[in-house]
Amino acid sequence: MDAEAAAALRDGLKFLAAGLAMIGTFGPGLGIGILAYGAMQGIARNPDTAGTIQLNMILAIAFAEAVAIYALVVAMLILFV
């Protein structure tokens, strides 16, 4: 294999690896869905507490999202470093 093909293969594997790393967003996606589901049910049952529930929901979504962000950071480390 000549150098150019090796470089191309390396680049391709890099992109593939970044794509695979992003599978990690699967769980957080589910988590955020469940969170929004719970929060909306809570708001529907007790609309007066909507403000508190929304604040807590956004915070919890940020936690769930953090895991997806780790996957994103790994993908970016693969791509750009």
Binding site: L59, A62, E65, A66, I69, Y70, V73, M76, L77, F80
Partner: protein, 353 residues
């Protein structure tokens, strides 16, 4: 009252609509004239000022993220000074920037008091400082010019070189714009063949200011400081027994003075030690999650702004800017609230159950 309502400039939709359309059209033409260049996405911060060699530590660079941090610091100090200047006169009702600042601080204090209760006065300064600082720094990525105004220099190895075009010059100060990227192969052996004529040689680009949260050093420093302060607060609140959280040999010690030991008596002492070990690991995980959460969110946001800015340089980016406004606020809140919750947890005596 009526007259003040009348004189207040209102949102004149009929006029502003045409202004907005004009701006969009101007945007389209500007993009036609100077098509956006895909920026080089780089993880480590770029050095702006040369190395200062210190003994023992080594070379120190002034990076563009440090400049952003300093600007945010300066802004925060200025805001604090303006508020202090107003409240020093004994003003009860504030207006303008101090009023907004009062509202923010009051909201943060109420949140802290509802969580930390007795320790609110100790926890509050840390939380408020972190929230305000991170908020300012996160929102600095939305200011046009951050990440895009910088200096040109000889290209480094591994970074792309750009074609430049001079716009205008004030004395010796030349203002240029980047018009395109030159393939790195061309730059590396440009002196061997093809003397560059009208293209001009490619120049590397380093922005003066880059959002501090896109540098892992900043977020890691913030996370380390927070976790260390959490430990110090734990020691202050519950004394030396705070160590029991991590090294819990209490029940194992009691076991030594027992005469008869059955194998089942060993379960709980060793569970305690194991839990202490897990707590220790959790502290390290805290540092990692703190730093990577902030870094990842804001770095991803700025990359998104770059990419959307090059792909669809008209209108769409405004939506992304709005999204980033929200992400920056939420991340600042999350960082501050997590520090608050962990500090509160550290102040609660651990063997009280």
């Amino acid at each position: 009252m009526e007259s003040t309502e009348q004189t207040r400039p209102r949102w004149r939709w009929g006029t502003y609509r045409w202004l907005i359309i004009l701006v969009i059209v101007a945007n389209v033409f500007a993009v036609k004239a100077f098509s956006p260049v895909k920026p080089h996405i780089q993880l480590p911060a770029e050095a702006v000022a040369g190395p200062v060699t210190l003994p023992l530590i080594g070379d120190l660079y002034l990076t563009n993220t440090m400049i952003a941090t300093l600007i945010a610091d300066l802004l925060l100090i200025l805001i604090a000074f303006s508020v202090w200047r107003v409240t020093r006169g004994g003003a009860m009702i504030l207006s303008g920037v101090p009023q907004i600042f009062e509202m923010i601080v009051e909201a943060i204090y109420n949140l802290t008091e509802s969580t930390a209760r007795k320790w609110a006065d100790t926890v509050f300064p840390w939380v408020a400082t972190i929230i305000l600082m991170v908020l300012l720094i996160n929102w600095s990525e939305l200011i046009p010019g951050v990440d895009s105004i910088g200096m040109l220099h000889e290209p480094h190895h591994g970074t792309p070189a750009y074609e430049t075009q001079e716009l205008f010059a004030i004395g010796d100060f030349h203002v240029t714009t980047i018009t395109g990227e030159i393939e790195t192969e061309v730059v590396s052996d440009s002196d061997s063949h093809d003397s560059e004529e009208d293209i001009g040689e490619g120049l590397g680009f380093t922005p003066y200011v880059r959002v501090a949260s896109t540098d892992l050093n900043f977020t890691l420093a913030l996370a380390l400081t927070s976790v260390i302060v959490i430990q110090i607060l734990g020691f202050r609140a519950v004394g030396i027994t705070y160590l029991k959280k991590y090294l819990n040999f209490g029940r194992l010690g009691k076991l030594l003075f027992r005469e008869k030991i059955s194998p089942f008596d060993l379960i709980f002492p060793f569970t305690d030690i194991y839990v202490g070990l897990l707590e220790l690991i959790a502290e390290i995980a805290k540092i990692i999650s703190f730093s990577f959460r902030l870094f990842g969110n804001i770095f991803a946001g700025s990359v998104l702004l770059f990419i959307i800015g090059t792909l669809v340089p008209v209108v769409i980016q405004s939506g992304i800017v709005f999204l980033e406004l929200f992400v920056g606020l939420v991340q600042a809140m999350v960082f501050g609230m997590l520090v608050m919750v962990f500090m509160t947890m550290a102040t609660i005596a651990h063997d009280g159950h």
